[in-house]
Amino acid sequence: MYEKDGQRYFIVDGHIHFWDARPSNQANRYGEGFINCFYDYHRNLSPESEVWSLEDFWWQSEERILHDLFEVGYVDKAIFQPTYLTDFYVNGFNTTEQDGALAEKHPDKFIVNGAWDPRDGEEGLDRLQALAERWSLKGVKLYTAEWKGASKGWKLSDPWSYRYLEKCQELGIRNIHVHKGPTIYPLNRDAFDVADVDEAASAFPDLRFVVEHCGLPRLEDFCWIATQEPNVYAGLAVALPFIHTRPRYFAQIIGELLYWLDENRITFASDYAIWTPKWLIERFVDFQIPEDMRGEYGEITVEVKKKILGLNVARLYDIPVPPELDVTDVHAGSGEPVASGPKAPA
């Protein structure tokens, strides 16, 4: 819970990790390159006072995680989003099991999500079922750019993906977090293209598709899809830290999201340990659209901030919200597309 100027905010961090990128776990130069890439994100967008050493960034202890998120970070509930990357890391980068071990010790603090990969075929479907039973999954994190042997990625529109989405529906896993990464098969296509999310969201209206980092670097395509598909959500991982280095750009991102979606489909995410929630939450609560941009984007109200910082994710995961921290006009998504222009070109 965060309190400022007499307003209290219920905080759900929708995207955190418990990763191990220490050299002992790096399988090859790709594992090293991957964590260095994250570290550059961290160094580039964090305020100077929040920048860690590379050693601190490789791995965080249980104590540190609890401290960063709950002792000083105002978080009421945090959701682990696994990223396996078993081609890059000996024991995987951040698996359901690693996350789950921590979540089991602190069930009041964490929710653990699972993951699947359509390239695992039938065997993977069984594994998903076991995973769902073992961890009572309500959500999965999908990393479409995951390397697997010769393959450099997959798409949500692949036939096998649909088999897995059907399975999710059957198992009551309704929250599908989609993360686009930089390489995907075939390599001649745009790896960040979000058109496959559009197709899947239309085909599975009962599932919710939370597109991490709100489609960045394809914000415009994401917005075009989300405006037409009421079950598509924007996760703010990676977008939110711009609030420090480039507040005017952040204003544009949040302004575009509020225009094309609505305030019920935008969710807070620190992407811990790339960034820590404390400063992100403080900055976001203090944030306002710059005066000269308000003609276009309007202002962000306290109610909207409350929804983004916790209430929206709480609704997706049935997290009980103390009534005094709720807002009065909460409703389960507008369901109405803002615009109904022609289909965006795939």
Partner: protein, 227 residues
């Protein structure tokens, strides 16, 4: 940043744009080194991250190679991308003229023409927003204007260049509001379509800013500024 003193080589590289960010690679800070000795050009490129998409990286290396080779007096070009997960494949593929699919056998279906076209269309939409924003700020109204009615401005020049690149109508009588496929945008659709063009511009300019920042974090000595 190298000073532009080499017989046209820097100008040649300045004609190469990052297809995704729609800016010259020289201005983005992607050129670490460029020189010509005895007619042999040597160029070293660098990118903001180790995992930058290999298809865009390939296009920039290949375009840089072609641009440098076309400079008068250059008889050979050695253009290499550094510090990238696919450096070896890209550098070898460009040097051998293998094409993208040939550089990544089994991992790509065909070339990158479609990808390039997609991003040219995005770049055009962003330029439409820049011009529309200027016109509106000056009290004008982009709807129902012909290209010939638009006063000269850097934004107009930018729009015309991108329109020509796409092979779209650039005659003075053609409507200003053409979509990225060359179809006129109907008046009742204009608000929404221009609003989308705005989102495209925000996206591209934001990505370029982030890439500049990451490049500077990765290579503190790089002169790419965070604009």
């Amino acid at each position: 940043m190298p000073s532009p003193r080499y017989d046209g080589i820097w100008d040649a590289l300045a004609s190469v744009r990052d297809p995704e960010l729609d800016e010259p690679i020289t201005e983005l800070g992607f050129v670490r080194e460029a020189e010509v000795r005895d007619g042999r050009a040597s160029v070293r490129l660098r990118l903001p991250t180790y995992f930058c998409a290999p298809n865009f990286a390939y296009l920039m290396v290949a375009d840089a190679h072609d641009a440098v080779r076309a400079v008068a007096g250059v008889v050979a070009a050695d253009v290499r991308l550094e510090d990238h997960f696919a450096s070896d494949e890209i550098n070898a593929g460009v040097a051998e003229g293998a094409g993208f699919a040939g550089s990544f056998p089994g991992e790509a279906h065909g070339g990158l023409e479609e990808l390039r076209l997609t991003f040219r269309r995005k770049a055009y939409l962003a330029s439409l927003d820049r011009l529309g924003t200027r016109l509106t700020a000056e009290g004008g109204q982009p709807v129902r204007l012909g290209l010939g009615d638009v006063p000269e401005s850097p934004e107009l020049a930018g729009l015309l260049r991108r329109r020509a690149e796409l092979g779209l109508d650039c005659s003075p009588r053609s409507p200003l509001l053409l979509d990225e496929y060359g179809e006129p945008i109907r008046a009742e659709q204009a608000t929404l379509r221009l609003r989308f063009a705005r989102a495209v511009r925000v996206s591209i300019e934001g990505n370029a800013g982030f890439c500049r920042g990451l490049l500077h974090t990765r290579y503190p000595e790089s002169a790419a500024d965070e604009r």
